[in-house]
């Protein structure tokens, strides 16, 4: 390695080693020399004033480098980075699950473009609405209506569709099926909205019925219980559709499980919102408390403390020692100021004698 353009010791500055040893001196300073070379350098420096001065300088520089203030990441910064990374990974997963078509659609119709061209966006929406209104009834009548119960084939040779409101879904169907879309079909009247769930199994399948139907509930619960298999948007849709049925114990349990285990904070947040109507139930209250304590996402924790405060103000939650303890810890330690303040307010709502 050529470390210096100067060759003779006479022409070299006093702070540089002599040319014969320059590379080894330099590597010695960088602690990169083998033991034998190290000894040779030290021996040479004993007889060479210039190299001895150089090594002394190196030592001073090393000591000076110690005085450079080093920055240590705070626990808050690390936690914030981890939370944001989890969200980014969720987005990356969701994006890769959307497939090539979805990514292509994202690329050609980004939200920013629509924002920048409001007139064009409005025209596009009108066109989409018109097309959907004109063609979707034809499409549905084409794919849903079977000619006989069970496996059917449309008259013009289109792929067969199983209509599972007629054929009950079994465990095998559920294990192998992939939910590709959930549609809400409302006739605008008082009747409960109809739900259509498109399943991609060995044969295409369409489950339809109202949310009050048990086979629809069974399918939506399956999505929540096996959340790792389904996209976040399908999971969110399932949570939303089950929201009116939170009085059902199975639904409550599934939503509590979502709060504890779903990887996506948006899904956990929706589950907490859905459960808030049943927060007086013990298992629901525990799930909300767990979210308040353990959830890495501040948005989810905020939803949890909001629910608890509302309950406390309505007198729907007993002020037991565990609850007060958890709230007190949050009031002291939570990284979010809002959660700290709300925790203190919730304790006050539980027990006005408690002072902060």
């Amino acid at each position: 390695m050529q470390v210096d353009g100067n060759n003779g010791a006479a022409s070299r500055p006093a702070s540089e080693p002599c040319s014969e040893y320059s590379e080894r001196m330099y590597l010695f300073a960088a602690e990169e020399l083998e033991r034998a070379d190290e000894l040779a350098v030290k021996a040479h420096a004993q007889n060479c004033e210039r190299c001895a001065a150089y090594l002394e300088n190196v030592e001073k520089m090393r000591a000076s480098l110690e005085s450079v203030p080093r920055q240590e990441p705070s626990a808050n910064l690390l936690a914030e980075c981890r939370t944001n990374l989890t969200d980014l990974l969720d987005e990356a997963d969701a994006s890769s699950n959307r497939g090539v078509f979805g990514q292509w659609a994202d690329a050609i119709a980004p939200a920013r473009w629509l924002t920048m061209h409001p007139a064009a966006a409005a025209a596009l929406l009108l066109l989409i609405g018109f097309s959907a209104g004109t063609y979707s009834p034809r499409w549905f009548s084409h794919t849903v209506a079977p000619t006989s119960p069970g496996a059917t084939e449309s008259g013009n040779g289109e792929p067969a569709v199983n209509e599972s409101s007629v054929i009950p879904l079994n465990d095998q169907d559920l294990r192998t099926a992939d939910v590709t879309g959930i549609n809400l079909v409302s006739d605008g009247g008082d009747a409960p909205p109809q739900i259509e769930v498109q399943l991609n199994a060995q044969r295409p399948m369409l489950v339809h019925g109202s949310v009050a139907d048990d086979h629809v509930k069974q399918l939506l619960l399956y999505v929540l219980h096996n959340n790792q298999r389904f996209d976040p948007d399908v999971r969110i849709e399932s949570v939303e559709l089950l929201k009116p049925r939170t009085h059902d114990q199975d639904v409550r349990q599934a939503l509590c499980q979502v709060v504890h285990t779903d990887r996506n904070p948006a899904v956990r947040l929706r589950a907490l919102e859905a459960l808030s109507a049943e927060a007086s139930q013990e298992n629901v209250r525990n799930a909300i408390l767990d979210a308040l304590v353990d959830d890495a996402n501040p948005g989810v924790r905020i939803e949890a403390i909001n629910s608890l405060r509302e309950l406390a103000e309505q007198g729907q939650v007993p002020a037991d020692a565990h609850l007060v303890n958890v709230l007190r810890q949050r009031a002291e330690k939570d990284s979010s100021t809002y959660i700290r303040l709300q925790s203190a307010a919730t304790i006050e709502a539980l027990n006005p004698a408690e002072k902060f």
Partner: protein
């Protein structure tokens, strides 16, 4: 004898760690998100510390952290176990940090040319520094802090690559060969970068007289 036993123990521990990492990488490559998150937690504090000491601003360090781990996640299927996961991770982190520093140094206020005429000064900055053991004297403690800030300013004026090499060598204690692997370059190139960084640092500090 004692030292060789300690070295063997360290080598064994390093081998176990690499093997653990590789098992996690295999699980993560198979789609196990928890395995990936475990890998993140093993190294993310070090990554954030490196980023923070290179860019000094929390927001910038956070950007480097996120972009690095996201790239790791997206490219994990390309990891072929030809080096340790740690080396591969740092290769990505240093690339992201380099891009970041280059973007910043393209701004005029961050450019800091080093005057060559001072490089050959016969009596440089470090010659003029008082002897060590500054802690015994409060005045020296203050002087030491001032010196630290001056050196930091001088380090900030190095080119992005020199800065990363200097950080990895002096503060992370890595060998030049390992730094070369991380930066995807030869050990010789790293040596030259470090040499240039040291010289510039001296010259830059000499200007601060």
């Amino acid at each position: 004898m004692g030292m060789s036993v300690a070295l063997e123990r360290d080598a064994r521990q390093a081998a176990v760690k690499i093997s653990d990492d590789h098992a996690l990488v295999r699980d993560a490559q198979a789609g196990d998100r928890l395995a990936f998150e475990e890998l993140v937690r093993r190294y993310d504090r070090e990554v954030l510390r490196l980023a923070l000491n290179l860019v000094h601003r929390s927001e910038d360090a956070r950007d480097i952290y996120q972009e690095s781990f996201l790239r790791v996640y997206r490219n994990l299927h390309r990891f072929r176990f030809e080096c340790s996961f740690y080396t591969w991770l740092y290769r990505i982190v240093t690339n992201v940090a380099l891009d970041h520093l280059r973007r910043r140094s393209s701004r005029k206020e961050d450019q800091a040319p080093v005057s060559e005429e001072h490089e050959g000064s016969s009596r440089d900055f470090f010659d003029r520094q008082p002897e060590s053991n500054a802690a015994s004297n409060p005045e020296r403690v203050v002087l030491g802090q001032e010196l630290g800030q001056r050196i930091q300013q001088a380090i900030d004026r190095l080119s992005p690559r020199e800065r990363i090499v200097f950080e990895l060598k002096h503060y992370q204690g890595l060998k030049l060969r390992v730094i070369g692997e991380m930066l995807g370059t030869s050990e010789e190139t790293v040596k030259n970068s470090l040499f240039r960084a040291t010289r510039k640092l001296r010259a830059s500090l000499d200007e601060m007289r």
